[in-house]
């Protein structure tokens, strides 16, 4: 039978589940194989990219799904790094516990920073976060006794468990951190995904799209906004903790506005308000500067980075994830589209009779209209009156 593209798969069906599980298995396999095929320095770089990816996952929850641009995320990232660092170095707390405590600390800090969000909107709120982001490095310098000031905080390490042969050997620590970061990233993604599928997630999107309407519909703005800030900051804190243990030394210069800008760029290049975008974005902001300075060296790499950023805004307004999504939609369409985001709710709309097969005529219709409205959720939405 000649396949007609795009294939239409119904969400929740066996085929859809198989695709999802297959995808996840492929990712897991790639993570499992990476330490065997990649040289150590490359693995280290990938861990670095994954750390940034975790931070972007957190930022994306706030800025992508929540629509609230944060210009101060480096502060939460740094707070996580310093909390982890100070707890492990000065107080001998085990790294995992220290990281969990970092999450708690960052969550609280996030809630406090989120409080102005109850009163301020848009640009004004973004500027409060900017203030927080700029304050952080100077606070670190000021409270030198605690943080080591400009000299930095030394000696943070995260040793693998000694009784596992897998993590022994020359690259043991690299592999251990790679695994830990991968798992942390997976957990962060899971947290964000579950939040976005919950009542809280729908509230977040409602407040982003039309605040007044959301409140009228019963979204508790104070709760949603502050908790949103808190969770986003907490995830950034995890990333910061890993940053600290990976580098072994942290200085206030690592957590300036430049980091925030990088994270924002990563989120938007990867694709905001998507689930895979932040991960792609983490790789982009880690590797593009590395490669562009490999190729050119010197300040011209900065020109290149800026140009790439501007080009992305014009060429892929939805980010890489959005671009890939549009490509995939030509081959495979999943209906109904997941709830939330800007798609219309389609659960209660008539579905195609079977998983794959539309009758010839019908599928031709769908294809045309799907193309016209260009997007994964286009097929159903366009052909059905709202």
């Amino acid at each position: 039978m000649a396949a007609t593209f795009p294939l239409v798969v119904r969400q929740g069906s066996g085929v859809h589940r198989a695709i999802t599980i297959g995808g996840l298995a492929a990712v897991a396999l790639a993570v499992y194989l990476a330490p065997f095929v990649l040289p150590g320095y490359r693995l280290n770089q990938i861990s670095g990219a994954l750390v940034l990816a975790i931070a972007i996952v957190g930022l994306n929850l706030l800025s992508g799904f929540g629509g609230q641009i944060s210009l101060g995320h480096a502060a939460f990232f740094g707070l996580g790094a310093y909390t982890t660092g100070i707890l492990t170095v000065d107080h001998g707390v085990p790294v995992v516990v220290a990281m969990l405590l970092s999450v708690v600390v960052c969550f609280c800090a996030g809630v406090i920073v989120g409080l102005p969000a109850l009163r301020l909107q848009g640009t004004y709120l973004a500027l409060v976060t900017l203030a927080v982001g700029i304050l952080f490095p100077s606070l670190v310098r000021r409270f030198e006794d605690l943080t080591g000031g400009s000299r930095g905080l030394f000696g943070i390490s995260f040793r693998p468990p000694e009784n596992l042969a897998y993590f022994s050997g020359a690259l043991g620590r690299t592999i251990w951190i790679f695994w830990a970061v991968s798992i942390a990233l997976a957990l962060s993604c899971l947290v964000v995904r579950n939040i976005m599928r919950s009542r809280l997630g729908r509230g977040i999107v409602a407040l982003r799209d039309k605040e007044a309407a959301g409140i009228v519909m019963g979204v508790n703005r104070a709760f949603v906004r502050t908790v949103l800030f808190g969770i986003s900051a907490g995830i950034a804190g995890v990333a910061g903790g890993f940053f600290a243990v990976m580098n072994g030394i942290i200085t206030p210069e690592s957590f300036t506005l430049l980091l925030t800008i990088n994270l924002l760029v990563g989120m938007l290049i990867g694709g905001s308000a998507s689930f895979s975008g932040p991960i792609l974005g983490g790789f982009v902001i880690y590797f593009v500067p590395v490669w562009s300075s490999d190729i050119t060296g010197g300040p011209i790499s900065g020109v290149l980075f800026g140009a790439i950023l501007i080009a992305t805004v014009f060429l892929f307004p939805q980010g890489i994830a959005g671009g890939l999504g549009a490509l995939t939609a030509k081959v495979l369409t999943i209906v109904p589209s997941p709830p939330a985001l800007h798609a219309p709710q389609v659960e209660d709309l008539p579905l195609p009779p079977s998983e794959f097969a539309l009758s010839e005529a019908e599928s031709a219709d769908h294809v045309d209209e799907g193309d016209a409205s260009a997007g994964p959720e286009g097929t159903m939405a366009a052909s059905t009156p709202r």
């Binding site: 909107q121 640009t123 004004y124 409060v128 203030a131 100077s138 760029v265 011209i300 020109v303 501007i310």
Partner: protein, 296 residues
């Protein structure tokens, strides 16, 4: 007493710079609805342009004039090529593009002129003896010049908004773009004009302060942060408010940093930002901003 006065003058001088750059931010914000993160770098680039003109043998005043012209043209070009195509309501995209510009312009200046500080000659004599004594403190000619130019620019902008048709159109386009468009105004062109004005104001500032700060690619970065604070504090749609708030921030920060030991130079910047946050808590649209009423 003398020390206090000297510190006041210092703070006032810094405040002038914050307010000046804040003014440029406000002009763009009124039309585009977003902070131009590249404003400071555009000003920095203009100062380097003036340096290039001086290097080919032009007198400094002519060089500044040409640099301002280049600033105006590049402001207009950036708006036309990079901002306008994004359309209205694309605030995040505009923010991103200006961040991209920030990175690109900063590195481009580094590529062209190198990383070492250069010197731009001053318009007025700027030697150790060139100051007006004010009750024992020194008010340098350079600082006076900045004050006079800022006041002139502010007066010109005020007159433009208040007494000319273009200014009226700019105010209309800022307060309600859709109605302005329906009333036959070319809102896009008006925004472009705003970018040109901001480019010119920034260029003027960059060339005027370069002699005192040394001409480096990082010269505007701190100022940008303060300018954003000033523009926010003043309320983003009020040019005069931005200048006043800039002066206020400059004075308060300098005095607190000098007289409160706990703050010291480390937390100097923090003071400005904490003031900013405090004011915003009480007045969410800044000191002089107009409230925005949302219709559901």
């Amino acid at each position: 007493m003398d020390l206090l006065l000297a510190r006041l003058i210092d703070g006032f001088n810094n405040g002038l710079v914050y307010g000046f750059l804040g003014l440029a931010l406000v002009i763009v914000f009124r039309g585009t609805g977003q902070v131009n993160m590249a404003q400071g770098e555009m000003a920095m680039f203009s100062a380097f342009t003036a340096y290039a003109f001086v290097a080919v043998g032009l007198p400094i005043v002519v060089a500044i004039g040409l640099a301002v012209l280049v600033g105006v043209i590049s402001g207009g070009l950036i708006e036309r090529v990079l901002i306008r195509p994004l359309g209205h309501g694309a605030h995040n995209s505009v923010l991103l593009v200006t961040i991209g510009l920030f990175l690109a312009i900063n590195s481009a200046a580094g590529v062209i002129w190198g990383g070492d500080p250069l010197t731009l000659p001053a318009v007025v004599p700027d030697g150790p003896g060139d100051y007006v004594p004010v009750f024992g403190a020194r008010l340098r000619y350079q600082q006076l010049l900045l004050l006079v130019v800022l006041m002139l620019v502010l007066a010109a902008i005020f007159a433009l908004f208040r007494y000319t048709k273009i200014g009226l159109a700019m105010r209309a386009a800022a307060s309600n773009p859709e109605s302005a468009r329906l009333a036959g105004m070319r809102v896009d062109r008006i925004n472009g004009l705003g970018w040109m004005m901001a480019g010119g104001v920034g260029a003027l500032l960059g060339t005027l302060i370069a002699p005192s700060t040394a001409l480096t690619t990082g010269m505007m970065f701190n100022f940008l942060i303060y300018a954003i604070a000033a523009a926010t504090l003043g309320g983003f749609d009020s040019p005069g408010g931005a200048v006043l708030a800039g002066l206020l921030i400059g004075l308060v920060e300098n005095l607190l940093a000098s007289y409160v030991d706990f703050i010291g130079p480390d937390l100097k910047q923090a003071v400005a930002l904490v003031i900013l946050m405090g004011v915003l808590m009480v007045r969410p649209t800044g000191l002089f901003g107009t409230k925005k009423v949302e219709r559901v």
